[in-house]
Amino acid sequence: MLAVKTNKPFNPSEEIQNQIRGVMDQYPEGKSKSALLPVLHIVQNENAGWLSVEAMDKVAELMNLRPIEVYEVATFYSMYNLKPVGKFLLEVCHTGPCAIMKGEWLIDYLKRKLKISIGETTSDGLFTLKTVECLGACGYAPMMQIGEYYYEHLNSEEKVDKLLEDFRMKGFNRN
């Protein structure tokens, strides 16, 4: 997938820059490139949940890497989003153990409920639907990740509706 350029510079705050330096300092001298994955997580979090070309270029600058070293890593790992996402990214597991325990139903219900397909964002910008591979929660299927946490046993319309409603409220409160 091609990365998206926004023509908006990404300028992390002093606090974030310090955080980045702190992560780089955890690794042995001369090995600060090791911090690339954690730094990309920090930057993605600061950049509305995705990595623009500008954000990746800034990472290259801060970590003293060539931009290509950042791009090749950002495009390899599925947690990095290379195009804009909604306020809440719904990462639903579609792998076997979840699939046989209503995982396929969950994905279909979310599509119908939010009126979007996989990879799309609702028109209010709140939710993006993404399918992901096994998240290590197979015994608590069906499940999805939203932000920091896992939401498990999502096996009924009521549970899913309630969860979406909770996030909708959070989304509005933050505006």
Binding site: Q26, Y27, P28, K31, K33, S34, A35, L36, L37, P38, L40, H41, E69, E72, V73, F76, Y77, S78, M79, Y80, E91, H94, T95, G96, P97, A99, I100, M101, K102, G103, E104, W105, D108, S117, I118, G119, V132, E133, C134, L135, G136, A137, C138, G139, Y140, A141, Q145, E148, Y149
Partner: protein
């Protein structure tokens, strides 16, 4: 009650915290290792214990440790593999989430054995809240003097870093993990050289699974011989099994190796039997990569003896009639599940996760996925079954890392044991659609969705 080693104190309220963990004898192994033992003695105890790697391959841990190059004088590293991405596996998460200090203690004691002063815990990026739990546990351990400079005044120093991945199953493979830890794409390295000689930053490195490292404190406190008495034969000790699929009580269980599979599946202490009183159809006993077994082969070995949860018993009969203990990801399928659909699902997983370095894996997984999807959705030909057999055979053993084999085995075993079901899909294209679990998807919709 079965013997508990890792989860002995799991029910103590507050065991997540340093104080409660310490009250239960936590960190005693560090003290013993530093004050009473030489590094070589620690390695010796682990050798005697017979502990085998819990990440999937079951390689003897003490032996792995003794391969580490100490002579060159290069810095050595211990890296804990907390990538846990094998479908069906969620046991390391349980340990780290609910008894984090056990892993930290194991990391310290193991680092002492390897004479390493810097260790890493490579945790899958999605376990964000668990990374925080581990970092808090490390901070508590440091505040209590178990980490940092000059631990217990012995002159030994150690730092631990928790490093997040970012969504890539392949980074669980140890050399891909090391590449990823160096800030690169997770592309497996060609072995040799093995990590014990040239690992992280080109230095001698041991990579061990979370559960393996968590077993070390008990071994050091109680002795390798005591550990070796638990379990059966060369399958010593206990194993965490994460049970999922169509069962009454999914979850993480610590079993003594050698437990009968029948008891594990059907007793109320463990899985509690198949969900809704349905019949058992098949079991994947050790994570998605191991061969699937139909119910009739699952309970008895080739010799007709009751099958046990152990490395040897589960693999009895080879791939003809056996499987593997693998990572302990135990997936149960009831009579209503479609093996073809499950095989397609797993193959899609491996295709998605192939790093792309070797053509048999990169191309073969994609090809198998397409053929399986055709079969599954009622568009297959009888010859497709032989084609699949051919493709998986050409992947198996012909790649840089074992992901290729891991993709081949589920397909091979499904065809070996459930060939009629594949053929049934060809002969009954319309009914094939109805026997899917969950929902129907047209081929067209599927290929559009997966292109995103």
């Amino acid at each position: 009650m079965a013997k508990k080693i890792l989860l002995e104190h799991i029910d103590k309220p507050g065991i997540k915290s340093y104080e409660v963990y310490r009250q239960q004898g936590g960190y005693n192994s560090v003290e013993k290792a530093l004050r009473e033992m030489k590094p070589a003695d620690i390695v010796e105890e682990v050798k005697k214990s017979g502990l085998r790697g819990r990440g999937g391959a079951g390689f003897p841990t003490g032996m792995k440790w003794s391969f580490i190059d100490k002579k060159s004088g290069n810095l050595r590293y211990l890296v804990c593999n907390a990538d846990e991405s094998e479908p069906g596996t969620f046991k390391d998460r349980f340990l780290m989430e609910f008894i984090p200090h056990l892993l930290i203690e194991g990391m310290i004691t193991s680092s002492i054995a390897l004479e390493s002063n810097l260790g890493f815990i490579y945790i899958r990026g999605e376990f964000r809240w668990i990374k925080t739990i581990l970092e808090n546990a490390i901070a508590e351990a440091r505040a209590a003097g178990w980490l940092g400079h000059n631990i217990l005044g012995t002159g030994y120093s150690l730092e631990l870093v928790v490093h997040p991945g970012a969504g890539a199953y392949i980074c669980g493979e140890e050399t891909a993990l090391l590449e990823s830890l160096e800030g690169k794409r997770g592309l497996p390295r060609i072995k040799p050289p093995f990590p014990a000689v040239k690992g992280l930053y080109g230095n001698p490195t041991v990579v061990n699974n979370v559960e393996t490292i968590a077993a070390v404190p008990w071994i050091i406190n109680n002795g390798g011989d005591a550990y070796a008495k638990i379990g059966i034969g060369r399958s010593t000790g206990t194993k965490l099994i994460s049970a999922c699929g169509n069962i009454n009580k999914p979850g993480v269980y610590e079993i003594e190796l050698g437990l009968q599979v029948d008891e594990f599946l059907n007793s109320d202490e463990y899985c509690g039997g198949v969900l809704d009183g349905k019949m058992l159809k098949a079991v994947v006993a050790g994570g998605s990569s191991v061969p699937i077994l139909p119910a009739e082969l699952f309970f008895k070995t080739k010799k007709g003896e009751p099958r046990l949860m152990s490395y040897e018993s589960l693999s009895d009969g080879g791939f003809e009639s056996g499987t593997m203990l693998g990572s302990g990801g135990f997936i149960v399928y009831d009579e209503d599940q479609c093996i073809v659909r499950n095989t397609w699902n797993f193959t899609r997983f491996y295709h998605h996760e192939s790093c792309g370095q070797c053509s048999p894996c990169r191309e073969g997984t994609g090809w198998m996925e397409k053929v399986l999807h055709n079969l599954e959705s009622g568009h297959g030909k009888l010859s497709d079954v032989d084609l699949l057999w051919d493709i998986q055979k050409k992947i198996d053993g012909n790649t840089i890392c074992p992901l290729g084999d891991a993709a081949a085995w589920p397909v091979a075993s499904a065809i070996r044991h459930f060939r009629e079901e594949f053929e049934w899909h060809v002969e009954h294209p319309h009914d094939a659609q109805k026997r899917n679990y969950g929902l129907l998807k047209s081929t067209k919709e599927y290929f559009v969705a997966s292109a995103i």
